[in-house]
């Protein structure tokens, strides 16, 4: 059931609500208590809208042809000269992401209450960040997408640069330059695609651009395959940095490690999903033929999707190894994101193969696997958002209390922090992919989906799954187990009630998704299925 809020489209509210809230918080007098409570209240309102949008998303379109997969659409004139319009709307994939963003931001705000340095600006930046994230997820126009995609970089840059750890300047600069540099190719590709198609509407482009053959197979005197390949590469690098795909991942441990707790939560929880979302929303439908096209490099024959899956596999395996090799708790958790997002990436690769084959020759051979892999990828995005946010929350919590991130400085903390210990083990297990908790469902779906397509790569990535266990156990061992480090004898280590309030919603969602994934999966599944099946009709 579509609804509106005071006559406004709820998606408009989701995009501009946070921005407006940020302005209000920033403009108010610098009063800690006021800005904290007010920002929490405003973000909760936005969360309520996000939940309402998700709950009212109608996934009966499989049975009812009158229902569109894209709902809550709104369109306004914006950049008519270029053929771009202000077009918002969501399908099941974006609805999931909107829900995730809506839930995580209030929790991040609650956590950033611990910031005493210029709190109102800090909170305003978080809300501003939410605007960028929401904008990307609800955009149905490529220009709008790009706008918000870049916009989201700004607040997080300042969050890291101003409120981060010791090495924050390096991390913030690296993150910013890497991200912006990465999107240059995408900007060019965006312009090229929009210009040739005469529109920036993503749905229309998904139809037009793959069929675009230039003039007799060449475009501006360049072979059309080269043009498409280059634009594909532009998108690939931009989103690949964001996901991150190995080897574009090294900004992540620095940025996540140095960012303030709330920043890490949102970076890992939502921002990484922008890249994956971009792949699913744009790169897969825009370049079905490029994904499965053969590349011949140094005598090796492979497809773009195969290469992508190979890199994803490296991300899974090497990400896990790297996490295992860390002695810094936040870097360990950060590397776990590389590991987990690798599963998203390999799922996307499988989806792209299924989509590409169906597009190119109507083959349904891998259709079911592709759908399952895509389901798994999207659900993994959601799940990783929950568990990594919770992990960063806990890692940040212990850092806040001990002022060290070095695992070797901890030890035996469980005895002084029994509740913290229990929660830490719980979220660690979620991150590890324990069956019965959320991560397992999505990882299983991804493995099931990719195994028939990338058999060996999936098999090898199981090593990563093994080492996921190893680094998680290392984290627990170093933090909670072992003899108590008497250095912390008089330090209050137990988790604070505020942190408990922030982590409990995540834990509830983790359990519910693990035990009964179908509360959310049908919404993802139906959108993915209709997207995949629409190619072959």
């Amino acid at each position: 059931m579509e609804f509106d809020i005071l006559g406004l489209n709820p998606l408009t509210v989701l995009v501009f609500g946070p921005g407006l809230s940020a302005l209000i918080i920033a403009a108010l007098p610098n009063n800690k208590v006021l800005s904290r409570w007010l920002s929490l209240a405003l973000s909760l309102v936005i969360a309520a809208v996000a939940v309402a949008v998700f709950a009212n998303y109608n996934n009966t379109f499989m049975d009812d042809p009158n229902v569109s997969a894209f709902q809550f659409q709104t369109q306004a004139e914006w950049f008519t000269l270029l053929g771009s319009s202000w077009h918002l709307g969501i399908d099941g994939i974006s609805a999931t992401m909107v829900l995730l963003t809506g839930i995580l931001v209030p929790l991040a705000i609650l956590i950033s209450w611990e910031v005493d340095d210029r709190p109102s600006i800090h909170l305003a930046l978080i809300l501003f960040f939410e605007m960028g994230l929401m904008g990307v997820f609800v955009a149905m126009d490529l220009m709008v997408f790009f706008l918000f995609y870049e916009l989201s970089l700004v607040p997080i840059y300042f969050l890291i640069d101003q409120w981060g750890g010791k090495n924050r300047k390096y991390a913030a600069t690296k993150f910013m330059i890497y991200s912006v540099g990465g999107t240059l190719g995408m900007l060019l590709a965006t312009q090229l695609i929009g210009w040739t198609a005469g529109t920036f509407d993503i749905q229309q482009l998904s139809q037009i651009w793959p069929r675009f053959m230039g003039e007799n197979g060449s475009f501006l005197g360049i072979d059309i395959n080269t043009v498409k390949g280059l634009s594909f590469a532009g998108f690939l690098i931009a989103f690949g940095i964001k996901v991150p795909i190995w080897p574009f991942h090294t900004w992540l441990p620095d940025a996540h490690g140095e960012a303030p707790t709330a920043g890490s939560m949102l970076l890992a929880g939502v921002m990484l999903k922008l890249g994956a979302y971009g792949f699913i929303r744009l790169v897969v439908p825009f370049f079905p033929d490029v994904w499965i096209g053969e590349i011949n490099l140094l005598g090796l024959q492979f497809t773009a999707a195969g290469l992508f899956a190979f890199l994803a596999m490296l991300g899974i395996v090497l990400g896990a190894f790297a996490a295992f090799g860390q002695n810094d708790i936040k870097r360990l958790v950060a590397y776990s994101s590389v590991n987990h997002m690798g599963f998203v990436a390999i799922g996307i690769a499988a989806m792209a193969v299924a989509y590409g084959q169906a597009w190119a020759n109507g083959s349904e051979e891998h259709m079911q696997s592709g759908i399952i892999a895509a389901n798994g990828a999207v659900l993994q995005m959601f799940n990783h958002g929950l568990s990594s946010a919770a992990m960063f929350l806990l890692a940040g919590g212990i850092y806040h209390k001990t002022h060290t991130r070095d695992l070797r400085e901890y030890g035996g903390l469980w005895v002084k922090a029994p509740i913290y210990g229990g929660i830490f083990i719980f979220t660690s297990m979620a991150s590890l992919g324990l069956p019965g908790l959320n991560g397992f469902v999505s990882e299983f779906l991804v493995v099931r989906g990719t195994f028939p397509i990338f058999t060996w790569l999936t098999a090898i990535s199981m090593i990563g799954l093994l080492f996921t266990g190893a680094y998680i156990l290392k984290g627990i061992r170093a933090t909670l187990h072992g003899p108590f480090n008497m250095k912390w004898r008089d330090t209050a280590l137990e988790i604070e009630p505020r942190e408990v309030v922030a982590v409990v919603p995540l834990m509830i969602l983790i359990v519910i998704t693990g035990i009964f994934p179908n509360w959310i999966l049908p919404i993802i599944n139906d959108s993915v299925t209709i997207m995949m099946h629409s190619i072959t009709g």
């Binding site: 295992f324 400085e409 005895v415 019965g436 060996w456 999936t458 108590f484």
Partner: protein
């Protein structure tokens, strides 16, 4: 929910323990802060934390946790037994009738994967055994954990453990089995590391989890593949056991399809899936080469060992392969000596492990260590039996083993408890100033914390993480209440435990005719022999011989253990004063009641599986055919149901021979000439170099450390984190960044002399011109005026002339 609807009733079985877990964790697990040196409130064997305040479970919470945990398990037990008795009352249960129910669980494209519960004969028998064993373990834990400062946490975790096991048992698909399987893995991890301050405990926990996970990820791959295969066949998503295992068409399809991985080796899809699933069991049920975690797993509290070794964890592994047997057998016919790859793998691994672990069991000094190796060995029996196609026999041995092994572990726990009691007594006697709470496990004290010498743990972080083994207390000088060399003569001190242990031990050894262990082991050997005799299959003969040898060793080390522990005279002062705190103590009672229950089953459970053509006994216990066999076989389709082996004297006499021979040898060495204090183990001399090899577990732990653990640590820290990420990738990024900076510098220099030169030059020229031009200004007003006047005149003239000319031009 309708309690009379047997289809939906199985849902409720795991709910009780799981709910107990939630309630204990959230509600009743409440602690008070107590100073750690308060020996009255806080167990003296735990680290004293230098007098810091530590949480200790509140008294009401202890009681409440026991009540909640016990209610959960009792509810599961009652429901399970109700289901079980309903099931056995149905004729040919499993063939047409099963209890099953499912819900939509996972959307997959156009259809939905359904998750559910199912009770067939296998499940029904498990539902008889598991809740009973778990209930005994719970009752035992009441006494065993009575004084532990984290008792509530123990009960919550063990409830989760039980809930996970029951989930696995009632699952109707392999995915839900995997869920229970992994949750148990985590519970065992947390419970093995329950005394988390102790290095050996958390290391054992990590080892258990990691080693089993090696297998689990492979198993996950197998499940994913099976999920794919079933979709290819059915066109919808299913992993339901009835769909996969009870449908000949599917099994034929699976056996006839070339595998998408390792297909080049000529393996069919069913073979690859089978091997992957079996690898999962090799990890979970501690088979060679992944057996290394199980001996260390006894670091946890003893009830946990019973849980892992008997009722839950390792049984789950065997249960899963028994469950999946039709898939393994697809495409072959093992009863005709035609092995498929998965069954051959099981036969080889199982029989090898049975013998391999038995050899190590022979030399153990730790009372729980012997049992740990015997578990590995007995699981090998089951795996090998299944590999030979002895489906029912393997399952029968699983059930009897669960009873007698739970019994043995809990008896061993009582022995340890009694020894600690003795140790406490000795300490009191020697008037040490150190207070020991007299009912706590001994090990926790070794965490580099205060001991008799009164040293305190170093506050320095690096020192605190040092190897506690370097601590003088750990260096072998202190008393180990688990070392059998320190025992002796305990049969007089703890008679109930002695008889219970005797019952369990004889059952393990397969004491003929009387014990459950004999009947199940005999059935395995009989099945192997039968197929060999019928088909001449050499593999069956080899397995038969290896298992017989392993059974001989089993009987021997069992007798050795009983001898060292209970016979002869006390070899230490501690053993002299061992005891359970008097028969009136609640601890004594709760720890003895389960032993009596389990001893009953360890002896008599075997009589449900007596072959009908066994001389004399067959006509007494199985006048209408072997009841266990006849009930269980309907878990399989009729086409692959095992044939009942006809009676043959050779396997029976072999069973007699190995069991009695081993027992006699043990009796000879350890009864006739009991070990005295300070004596060496009498088998050390004759075994020679083998003794060291077995004592050091064939050096496999060291090998793994060298080949896997340390290289992977090195690889992670040095190669991946430092070399690849920081060195190559970041190095490349920094190089690019530096190149940009250099380019920037170059452009800056260019700016200085080119662009700045031009842009600064123009204003400068203008300035120079101004300096020159300003000389025109004299400051004399009259000159200015003159100029102005001249200009006016000239302009006027021009105006006049031009107008005139224009007018003239017309």
């Amino acid at each position: 929910m309708d309690l009379n609807n047997l289809n939906t009733l199985p849902w409720l079985i795991p709910v009780g323990p799981l709910l107990a877990f939630v309630i204990i964790t959230l509600v009743t697990n409440k602690s008070r802060m107590v100073r750690a040196d308060d020996s009255h409130e806080y167990g003296g064997h735990h680290p004293d934390y230098d007098g810091m305040n530590v949480p200790v479970v509140a008294p009401w919470s202890r009681v409440a946790s026991i009540v909640v945990g016990l209610s959960g398990v009792i509810s599961a037990w009652l429901i399970s037994w109700r289901v079980f008795f309903e099931a056995i009352s149905i004729n040919q249960f499993g063939k047409d009738v099963i209890f099953a129910d499912s819900i939509d669980w996972l959307s997959n494209g156009l259809d939905t994967f359904r998750m559910g519960v199912m009770v067939d004969p296998l499940t029904a028998v498990m539902l008889f055994m598991v809740p009973l064993a778990v209930l005994c373990i719970f009752i035992y834990s009441i006494g065993y954990m009575a004084h532990d400062p984290r008792q509530a946490r123990f009960f919550s975790l063990i409830s989760l453990f039980a809930g996970a096991m029951l989930t696995l048992v009632v699952a109707d698909n392999i995915l839900l089995v995997f869920v229970g399987w992994e949750v148990m893995g985590v519970c065992s991890y947390l419970l093995i590391g329950f005394w988390f301050e102790k290095k050996s405990a958390y290391n054992a926990a990590i080892k258990a989890f990691t080693v089993t996970r090696v297998a689990d990820v492979v198993m996950l791959l197998g499940i994913a593949y099976l999920f794919f295969l079933s979709y290819e066949f059915y066109g919808f998503a299913t992993l339901n056991f009835r769909d996969i295992l009870y449908n000949e068409a599917f099994l034929e399809y699976a056996a006839g399809t070339n595998a998408i991985i390792f297909g080049g080796l000529g393996l069919s899809a069913s073979a690859v899936i089978g091997i992957f699933l079996i690898i999962g069991t090799i990890g979970k049920s501690a088979q060679f080469p992944l057996h290394v975690w199980l001996p260390d797993a006894m670091e946890g509290p003893t009830p946990v060992s019973a849980m892992i070794h008997a009722a839950a964890m390792v049984s789950a592994g065997v249960y899963a392969v028994i469950r999946m047997y039709p898939l393994f057998d697809a495409g072959g016919h093992v009863h005709a000596g035609d092995f498929t790859a998965p069954l051959l793998l099981m036969a080889v691994i199982g029989s090898f492990t049975a013998l391999f672990a038995a050899t190590m069991g022979v030399v153990q000094r730790d009372v729980k260590g012997v049992l740990a190796y015997s578990t590995i060995s007995q699981l090998g029996f089951m795996i090998a039996a299944l590999g030979m196609g002895a489906f029912v026999a393997a399952f029968f041995h699983l059930i009897t083993h669960a009873f007698f092994k739970a019994l043995l572990f809990m008896s061993a726990g009582s022995v340890i408890h009694a020894m600690e009691h003795g140790e406490h007594h000795v300490h009191e006697h020697h008037a040490h100033d150190h207070h020991h709470d007299h009912h706590d496990e001994a090990h926790v004290e070794s965490v580099g914390v205060g001991d008799e010498a009164g040293t305190h743990p170093p506050a320095d972080a690096h020192a605190a993480t040092e190897d506690p083994a370097e601590h003088p207390r750990e260096a072998g000088t202190h008393f180990d209440p688990q070392d059998m060399m320190n025992m002796g003569g305990l049969r007089h001190k703890i008679p109930v435990t002695y008889y219970a242990f005797l019952a369990g031990g004889l059952s393990l050894a397969g004491f003929p005719l009387l014990t459950a262990g004999f009947w199940s082991k005999d059935e395995i050997l009989a099945d192997g022999w039968y197929v060999f005799r019928e088909t001449g299959s050499g593999m069956h003969l080899i397995v038969f011989l290896v298992l017989a040898l392993a059974a001989f060793l089993t009987a021997f080390y069992t007798m050795r253990q009983i001898g060292l522990t209970f016979w002869g005279e006390a070899r230490t002062e501690e053993a002299e004063h061992a005891g359970l705190g008097g028969p009136e103590s609640i601890i004594s009672r709760t720890m003895q009641l389960p032993l009596i229950i389990l001893a009953f089953f360890a002896i008599f459970a075997g009589f449900v599986g007596v072959p009908p053509d066994f001389p004399i006994l067959g006509s007494i216990f199985a006048p209408n055919g072997n009841p266990f066999f006849d009930f269980t076989k309907y878990a399989l389709m009729e086409s692959i149901q095992p044939e009942k082996p006809t009676f043959s004297w050779i396997p029976v006499l072999t069973s007699f021979g190995v069991a009695l021979g081993g027992l006699y040898l043990g009796w000879l060495i350890y009864w006739r000439n009991p070990l005295k204090a300070g004596d060496e183990d009498p088998i050390k001399q004759p075994l020679g170099v083998l003794y060291d090899l077995w004592m050091n577990r064939y050096y496999m732990d060291d090998l793994y450390g060298m080949v896997f653990v340390r290289p992977s640590q090195w690889f992670s820290a040095v190669v991946v984190s430092t070399f690849i990420d920081k060195g190559i990738i970041d190095g490349f990024l920094h190089l690019v960044a530096r190149a940009f900076i250099w380019t920037g510098d170059l452009i800056k220099v260019l700016n200085l002399w080119l662009i700045d030169g031009v842009s600064d030059g123009i204003p400068e020229a203008i300035g120079h011109f101004g300096v020159w031009f300003r000389r025109i200004q004299t400051g004399r007003i009259q000159q200015y005026l003159l100029l102005a006047a001249a200009a006016a005149i000239i302009i006027g003239l021009i105006f006049v002339v031009s107008t005139t000319l224009l007018q003239a031009a017309g």
